[in-house]
C-alpha cells in the first residue's frame, strides 16, 4: 500500500515548482517508462498495477485506485515512474536547431519533440516561458523521444546573437518552403499557438518561409504549430537527401 507521505510527494510533482525543487519528474505508460529506463534515466520510484507486474518485475505493485491517485493524467496508465531530472546540458549550435518561442500546449510540445527525434534533430531551444519539458503530459506525448533530444530553456535572441547561423521562421507572407534550399547549420523558429512568433524574436529571423496553402477559397489562417514544423522538417530532409 502506498503511504500518505509518498502519495503526497508524488502528486506534488504534478506541479513544476516541486519538480524543480525536488529535481524529479513523473513518467507514465509502458512505452515511455521503458524507453526512459533503457536510456539510463534513474528511477526513484517505479509503480505498476497487476497487469504489467511481469514486465516491470522490480516495480512496486499497487492497485488501480492507488495508481489513479498518483497519476497526473486523465487516464492512469498501468505503470508510473518517478525519474531524476538529468543535469542540464549547455546549448551548442547543431546542424538544425528547432526553436520553440513559447509553445504552451503539452500535447503540441511532446509531439514536436517526437518529430525532432524522427527527423534526426537533436536539439530544441526554448524560450523560458515554453511549457516545461517535465510536465507529465509533455513526457507522455513525447513517447520517449525526450531521451534523444536535448531541450534547453534560455533567451532565444541572445543565444542566436552569440552563436549565429541562418534563422528561418514560418510566416503567412514568407517565401514557399519548396522554392529554396535551407542551409545548415540553422535555426528554425516556431511560434506560440495563439500569438505566433514574438516581435523581439522575429528580429533575429534572416528568412521568412511559408507552407503553400492549397485552393484559393480556403480561409484557414494558419496550421497548428506542430503540423507546420512537420512539413518544414520533412522538406528539409527530403531536399538534403535528394529524394
Amino acid at each position: 500500500m502506498l503511504s500518505k507521505t509518498i502519495t503526497k510527494r508524488i502528486t506534488s510533482l504534478h506541479l513544476k515548482k516541486f519538480r524543480q525543487q525536488e529535481q524529479l519528474f513523473i513518467a507514465e505508460g509502458v512505452k515511455v517508462v521503458s524507453e526512459l529506463i533503457a536510456a539510463g534515466y534513474f528511477a526513484e520510484y517505479l509503480f505498476t498495477t497487476a497487469g504489467t507486474k511481469q514486465q516491470f518485475s522490480a516495480a512496486t505493485l499497487i492497485d488501480e485506485a492507488e495508481m489513479k491517485r498518483i497519476s497526473a493524467l486523465a487516464d492512469a496508465s498501468p505503470v508510473l515512474a518517478v525519474f531524476r531530472i538529468p543535469k542540464a546540458t549547455s546549448f551548442k549550435l547543431d546542424e538544425i536547431t528547432v526553436v520553440a518561442d513559447g509553445i504552451r500546449d503539452p500535447g503540441n510540445f511532446g509531439a514536436l519533440i517526437r518529430l525532432c527525434d524522427w527527423f534526426g534533430v537533436s536539439q530544441l531551444l526554448c524560450a523560458p516561458d515554453t511549457v516545461d519539458l517535465y510536465n507529465p503530459k509533455v513526457v507522455q506525448a513525447s513517447m520517449g523521444s525526450m531521451a534523444r533530444v536535448r531541450v534547453t530553456y534560455q533567451d532565444i535572441s541572445n543565444t542566436i546573437r552569440t552563436q549565429p547561423a541562418p534563422v528561418y521562421g514560418a510566416f503567412m507572407e514568407g517565401e514557399s518552403v519548396y522554392n529554396q534550399v535551407l542551409e545548415t547549420p540553422c535555426y528554425l523558429i516556431l511560434g506560440n499557438e495563439a500569438n505566433g512568433i514574438r516581435s523581439e524574436t522575429e528580429e533575429s529571423i534572416t528568412k521568412k518561409i511559408s507552407i503553400p496553402r492549397y485552393g484559393k477559397l480556403q480561409q484557414t489562417e494558419s496550421l497548428n504549430v506542430t503540423t507546420a514544423a512537420a512539413i518544414i522538417l520533412a522538406e528539409m530532409r527530403r531536399t538534403s537527401s535528394g529524394r
Copy 2:
C-alpha cells in the same frame, strides 16, 4: 446574470450524450465563434465578458466567474456560443478523403481538421469511435476549420466497399511517400494514437506508404498521427502541383 437553468443546460453540453440529445454544441474563443457565425451556424446562446462586448454586441454580457462556470475548457475564453448542430450530410467520394480510424485525442483531431482545410481536403470519414466533432476541445483546436470540412461518422470498410478508390495507409514498413505519385480520388487512412490502424481497416488498404525517418540511430517508432498526416498531405499537394 446567468440563471441556474441555463447554466445547467450549457454545462450538460460538455457531454456527448446531451449534445446529441439537444443537437447543440459549445464553441469558445473569439476566432472560432466568429468563424462559425460567419459560416452561418445558428447561435442559440452567445455570451461575452466585458472585454469583447464591443465585438459581439448582440451577445449577453456575463462576468468572468459565470464564464468560467459554463466553459468546457481549462482556460475560459472571453466569448462562448452554443450553436445548433447542422444536419449531417451523407458521404460522397471526393478527390481526397482523409479517414480517421478511431483518433481519440481532441487536440489531434482538431489539428487534423485544420490541416485538411489548409490542404483543400473537404472530407473526413471517421470510424464511429473517433472522438466527437462537437467535443468542445475539438471545436477549439479546429479553429473554425470545422465549418469547411465535412465530417462523417460511419463504418470505414463498408464505405470503401460501396464507394471504391485507391486506399493509402501510413505504416512503418510502407513504401516511401516520396517514391510514388498518389492517385486521386483516394482515401488516406490514419490510425488511432495508441493502436494505429485496425486490422479490419487494414484489409481495405491498397497501398502502404511510409515517411522516411532520418538517421539510422533514431529509435522513434512513430510520428504523432497529425504530424504524419501533415507530411503526407503536403507531399500529395506538392507533387500534384509540380512544385
